[in-house]
Structure formats: structure tokens, C-alpha cells
């Protein structure tokens, strides 16, 4: 593993590559993370996209990307990366292109594709040892269609298809563990609100070959129900409460990269968001809040051991 030079805010790239004026919502946590990620990945990339919010970044005839883009379908962006990577490797091997023309294949999908419809294609790509980066912006629901619950939706969250008093009855799928079980080159969780940790992980991912997942929690003002100016606060609280552990899997080991010293109560995170308002109004649902806190506590107890 290459030692990274990214240690402080001032080490981050000062030139920003992703263009502005896109169709994303104000305060979009996915776009924020993508800005930071693109600054490190650079323009020698081809983004292979699956149906989701980010599909609307490239709108004919405009794109915020300086590099290339290929929209595929909801289920098969990793297979698109397979075709692009294999074709570039063939061209390089046969010296039909020079190494200057090479590109990094980067899959860009939301949680709907990453946790659900695209999981078979993802598993296949990892098992084939495909050399690619998978970037998932996880806004914990089918955001582009109005925030219906997905396999990434947290327990008790209200979505447009879980409107009852207890919210979503399921539990967020552990995509990090599913990836790690495939023994890929790299898996990392990130969040835009922690740019140094994020950029260091992108730098690490760049230095490796093989299947690499960057799983970015993407606070979503529209879907989660909070003011767009709070996106960074929500993101920081996701880390400080321990709800979104920042970690990486490398060489068969999982390491936490930013352990909250004194974890704040999950309530601080939940209270900011309309999707959890039913836990506090019209009456407080202690059982659900305690369950969420209990699961976070149990996670960190295991993580410490």
C-alpha cells in the first residue's frame, strides 16, 4: 500500500475539476462527495453510470465531467466497466493505443443499483477480478424517483413507501461486508463531510489494482427532509454518532479510519431529519430510538474487539 500525502485540508487538490450548474438538488451530499472524489481521480477516467440521480449530470449536450462518460442501465454498470476495461487492455496489449490514452474505469451508481438490482453484476465483476473503481453514492433510498425505501434504507426511516408510524421495517444491508466477503483489492466507506479521510481513501484506491469500492454516504436534503445548508452537519453527525463508520478493507483487514472518541447519541443525528420526525412527534418512540442506539453501540463494541 502506497503512503498517501493527504493528511490535512491544505493537502487537498486546489484545482476543482467537476463543472457546476448541474441538475442535482441544492445541498446534494452525493454531488459534494463526487466533487472531492473527482478532484483526486482526475480526468483520465471514464464514468460508467447506472440509472440514478447522477444520471442527470450528463444531459445532452452538456456534461460537468472533463473526462468520459457512458450511461448503461440500472443493473449492469459493472459489466459496462468490464467491456471498457477489457477493450482498453486489448488495445494496450496490441499497442493500438499508447499508455497515455489509458483510462480508469469508474462505476458510478446510487444505492438502488449498488445494494439491489446491480448486485449480481457487481459480484460477477469482483469475482472476475475486474480492475475498476465502484463509486456508490448512498442516499439510502430510490432518491431519483422520490425516495422510496431501498435495501440501503436505515431501520425506522420514513420514505415515500414506508409511511407508517414505525417507518421502514427492514435493516440497512451491509454492502461493505458483502464486498469484503469477495476479498477484493479495496473497500472503503467515505462521506463528503470528511474530505481528508475521503481524499486519502481515493488516493489509496487509485494506487491499487482490481475491484475497489468507495461507498459514500450521501446526505440528501430532498429525500431525508432537512434544510440543504445542513448537509455537512448531517454528514458530520453521521460519523460522530457512529452511525456511519469510516473504515477500509485492505489486505484482508478492516481498519476504522476515524473512530469517534466520545460518540454522540444517535438522537442528535435523527432529530435533524424529517424522515425520522415520527420518532419524536407526536410522541417520542423510545423503543425505536433505543433500538437504533443499541445497534450502533453493538457495532462499535464488536469493532473495538
Amino acid at each position: 500500500m502506497k503512503e498517501t500525502i493527504l493528511k490535512r485540508m491544505k493537502d487537498l487538490p486546489s484545482v476543482h475539476l467537476l463543472g457546476g450548474g448541474t441538475a442535482m438538488c441544492a445541498g446534494c451530499g452525493a454531488l459534494g462527495a463526487l466533487h472531492e472524489i473527482y478532484d483526486v481521480l482526475g480526468e483520465k477516467t471514464v464514468f460508467i453510470n447506472a440509472a440514478g440521480c447522477m444520471t442527470l449530470l450528463a444531459n445532452y449536450p452538456f456534461t460537468p465531467f472533463r473526462g468520459s462518460w457512458l450511461y448503461t442501465a440500472m443493473a449492469s454498470a459493472p459489466a459496462g466497466a468490464q467491456g471498457v476495461r477489457d477493450a482498453l487492455d486489448i488495445l494496450l496489449e496490441q499497442k493500438r493505443i499508447s499508455s497515455d490514452e489509458n483510462l480508469e474505469a469508474v462505476v458510478l451508481t446510487g444505492d438502488g443499483a449498488a445494494y439491489g438490482m446491480g448486485l449480481s453484476a457487481t459480484s460477477g465483476a469482483i469475482e472476475r477480478g475486474l480492475d475498476f473503481i465502484y463509486l456508490c453514492y448512498d442516499n439510502e433510498g430510490y432518491g431519483n424517483t422520490g425516495q422510496q425505501f431501498s435495501a440501503a434504507t436505515p431501520h425506522a426511516a420514513r420514505t415515500s413507501t414506508s409511511t407508517g408510524p414505525a417507518g421502514y421495517s427492514g435493516y440497512k444491508k451491509d454492502l461493505f461486508a458483502i464486498w469484503a466477503a469477495h476479498r477484493p483489492a479495496y473497500v472503503a466507506t467515505v462521506i463528503g463531510a470528511e474530505p481528508v479521510d475521503l481524499s486519502r481513501k481515493i488516493e489509496t484506491a487509485r494506487s491499487l489494482k482490481g475491484p475497489r469500492l468507495i461507498l459514500a454516504l450521501a446526505p440528501c436534503p430532498t429525500g431525508w427532509g432537512y434544510d440543504p445548508e445542513l448537509s455537512i452537519d448531517v454528514g458530520k453527525l453521521a460519523v460522530q454518532t457512529g452511525i456511519w463508520p469510516l473504515k477500509e478493507y485492505i489486505d484482508g483487514q478492516v481498519q476504522h479510519t476515524k473512530v469517534p472518541k466520545a460518540r454522540r447519541p444517535v438522537e442528535d443525528y435523527l432529530r435533524l431529519q424529517g424522515r425520522f420526525a415520527h420518532l419524536f412527534e407526536p410522541q417520542r418512540q423510545d423503543k425505536l430510538i433505543d433500538e437504533i442506539q443499541g445497534r450502533v453501540d453493538a457495532y462499535w463494541q464488536n469493532a473495538a474487539g
Partner: protein, 412 residues
């Protein structure tokens, strides 16, 4: 004919090898699997310098095929039936990427009920996708059509993927003598692939398959696909003529067999046309003036060639090995659309559905179809479409049902 004994699947694999394809994304499915097994053997032994990758589904396979073609390499892939349907989202999507590659479909009936045997409902499902379609009737034609398909798909005025269709079992597993063209002549016909501006390169960023907002932009791109597919008819004529010069085998967009002085012609696709031709010979021996018309191209639809082949005839008998539920035969409807209002169009246009799920069409049935056509010519009344099915077949089905019923009652 001289040459090597090859199955239709073997001929398809040989075509991919002779076409010097770079990349073969694959997924096994009966009756196509022999194609990818053959190619895999050659890539493993180094006889074929292509890269083959087995994906985890046909949907992914088509995505990888389109993505690799969009990156600028020559791509070959193959599927059948349920696999084609599983890939259908991408079949439609990749045509909009305007990337040339060749997909071989080994036709097989689609579920339900599930079957392994052949008919054309799978390939008809891809009819409106923008893929060009070439339909084969012999193993030689499978090999040659794949070479033609690359030229057609990669042509600057076309740039669309192409499907070469061969019938499962009847062609896929039937050995015929196939003349393997020598590699140098193939190279003269099909030059190494130059993707021109279809590629992803660090120095030339491209955004492919981006979203559009609004119907005008959407219509613009959809019309472009259609116009490119229409261009393919003229391009096909040019390259088929060039192919005939180089290889001595002629593949017009529509094959005509003993049609010149015919009153009645069969019109059908694929390998069953061989049975049709045999029936034509026997009927002619009996004094009937019949012939056969076989479109090789289904997309683009060779309207001029079909009109030319059938105008002045008294009756056309369209035999569809597909069934559009609630309507009838797809080729029948398409044929009607090119004949309506044309001077000297045949007055009688008959529709028969047959050969579904590998069911044979017997010589007697061909004779009966001609007898019905003769009655229709005499009476001026065209009977409704018929589903070929005999009393014996129905009796067999009833027997099976009776046996099953008895077995069930014994268990109760």
C-alpha cells in the same frame, strides 16, 4: 459442395475467428453453447487471439459487448431465446450508442412453456430495437452472413449492431459442408477494425448515451437510428455484390427460388425455407407453378426486393415461425404493409403459422397450403390465418392428458 463438415454453431465460431474479433463476452445457453465452447477452445490454445470473458448474465454480456464496442474493438457475442430476452433492455439500449458489433442468435422458442427447440419469437422480440437482422438458411450462410454483418454494422453510413440468426437444432446442430474461406481473402473483404470516432481515449473525452430532456432531442436521436438502419439496405447491396465477387457466393437481400414464372410463392425465413424449396420442386414436378421468396434481411426490411419478387403473382403464402398473440404472424403483417396499394400486388396474401418450438412442417402441409391458395385465387376470398396443427397431433396431446389424469386419480 467441397469443404469442411461444420454445424451451424461451428460455422458461427469460424466466422468470428476469420473476422479477427478482439473480444467475446459470453454466457452459455442451449442451443448456442457450442459457439462459445469452440471459441473458448481456440482462445485457450492461442489459435484465436481474442479475449473471451464469461459474464454472469446475458444482460451483463450485452452491456459488456456494447461498452467494448464503444471503446473501439471488434466484438462478437452469441445467445438464444431466454438469454436474448434477458438481455433485451441492453439490446435496445446499445443501438442508441451507435456501436457496431455482431450478435449471433440461435433461435429457440420462448417460455412458457419452456422448450429448447426452435422458432422465431425470440428474434422477433428484437425486431424494433435498431439491431440489423440477417436470417440464415444454411451453415455456409451462417459463416458468410457474419462476415457480411461486420461490414454492414461497421459501415460509416450505418454504425449499428447486427444480429445474425440461425435456427436452433435445424442449423445449430446440423452438419453441412462449409467452404472455409482463406484468411487473406477474408482480410481483403473485412479489413482490421478502425473505430474512427467510436472510442474512449484519455486525449479525446466522449460522453456516450447521455440523458436527453424533451421529446425533440429524443426524436432526433431515435430518427437517426432509423435512418441509419434504412441506409443499411443500400450498403447491404453494395457489400453483398463485393462478397459475391470475392467469394463466388451471392447473398441478395431477398432470395428467390423458381419464382420467375410462378403464380404462387411461399414467403418464409430461415432454415425451414430448405423444406419449402423441396416442396416447390415436388409441386413443380406435379405441374404447379410455385416458387419461394426468402428475405435474408429482416431489418432493414428489404421492401423493394420483396415487391419485385412478388408483384404479378396471384398469391403469396407467408409462413411465420412466430406468433404475435392476438394478431398472428409478424412477417405476414410486414409483407402486407409493403404490398398494400402497389399496382400488380398479389390479390391473395395468405397467413400460416407453423414450425413453433421445433415442430416440423411436412411436405403435405406445403401442398395443402398451395391447394388453399388455389381455392382463394378461384373464389376471390382469402381465408383467415391458420395455425398448422394436425388431428394426429391433437390426438397425441389428448392421450397424454388422459394418461396424466389416470395417474393422478390412482394417487388420490
Amino acid at each position: 459442395m467441397s469443404g469442411r463438415l461444420l454445424t451451424g454453431n461451428g460455422a458461427a465460431a469460424w466466422a468470428a475467428r476469420l473476422a479477427h474479433v478482439d473480444y467475446v463476452p459470453a454466457f452459455p445457453i442451449t442451443p448456442q453453447t457450442e459457439i462459445i465452447e469452440t471459441i473458448s477452445r481456440w482462445t485457450d490454445s492461442g489459435e484465436m487471439p481474442a479475449r473471451m470473458v464469461t459474464l454472469e448474465s446475458e444482460h451483463s454480456m450485452l452491456t459488456a459487448a456494447g461498452a467494448a464496442a464503444a471503446t473501439g474493438v471488434r466484438v462478437f457475442t452469441a445467445t438464444s431465446s431466454q438469454g436474448l430476452l434477458y438481455a433485451m433492455e441492453m439490446i435496445y439500449a446499445v443501438t442508441g450508442w451507435r456501436v457496431p458489433f455482431v450478435l449471433v442468435n440461435v433461435s429457440r422458442g420462448i417460455a412458457s412453456p419452456v422448450t429448447l427447440e426452435s422458432d422465431h419469437n425470440d428474434i422477433m422480440a428484437a425486431r424494433d430495437s435498431g439491431f440489423l437482422q440477417l436470417h440464415c438458411s444454411t451453415c455456409q450462410e451462417v459463416l458468410d452472413s457474419i462476415l457480411l454483418a461486420y461490414r454492414l454494422a461497421e459501415h460509416q453510413r450505418v454504425r449499428l449492431p447486427a444480429i445474425v440468426n440461425l435456427d436452433g437444432f435445424y442449423l445449430s446442430f446440423t452438419r453441412e459442408a462449409v467452404d472455409l474461406p482463406d484468411a487473406d481473402t477474408v482480410r481483403r473483404f473485412l479489413k482490421p477494425y478502425d473505430p474512427e470516432n467510436i472510442k474512449f481515449r484519455a486525449s479525446q473525452p466522449v460522453s456516450q448515451a447521455v440523458a436527453v430532456l424533451g421529446g425533440s432531442q429524443y426524436s432526433y436521436f431515435r430518427y437517426e437510428i432509423h435512418l441509419a438502419a434504412l441506409n443499411a439496405i443500400e450498403v447491404y447491396r453494395e457489400i453483398a455484390a463485393e462478397f459475391a465477387d470475392l467469394f463466388g457466393r451471392s447473398y441478395e437481400a431477398v432470395e428467390t427460388y423458381r419464382t420467375e414464372d410462378a403464380n404462387i410463392v411461399f414467403l418464409m425465413l430461415g432454415s425451414f425455407a430448405t423444406k419449402g424449396k423441396d416442396a416447390v420442386d415436388r409441386l413443380r414436378d406435379g405441374g404447379a407453378n410455385v416458387g419461394l421468396v426468402r428475405p435474408r434481411l429482416l431489418r432493414p426490411f428489404p421492401e423493394d426486393e420483396i415487391r419485385r419478387a412478388v408483384t404479378g403473382k396471384q398469391a403469396v403464402i407467408v409462413i411465420d415461425q412466430n406468433l404475435s398473440m392476438g394478431k398472428g404472424g409478424v412477417v405476414h403483417a410486414e409483407t402486407a404493409s409493403v404490398l398494400y396499394g402497389i399496382p400488380d400486388a398479389p390479390r391473395v396474401l395468405l397467413s400460416f403459422i407453423g414450425g413453433l418450438g421445433g415442430r416440423d412442417i411436412s411436405a403435405e402441409e406445403f401442398y395443402e397450403m398451395v391447394a388453399i391458395a388455389e381455392q382463394a385465387i378461384a373464389s376471390g376470398d382469402t381465408p383467415p390465418p391458420r395455425l398448422l396443427f394436425t388431428e394426429d397431433e391433437l390426438r397425441e396431446i389428448r392421450k397424454l392428458q388422459a394418461v396424466a389424469q389416470v395417474e393422478r386419480e390412482e394417487l388420490l
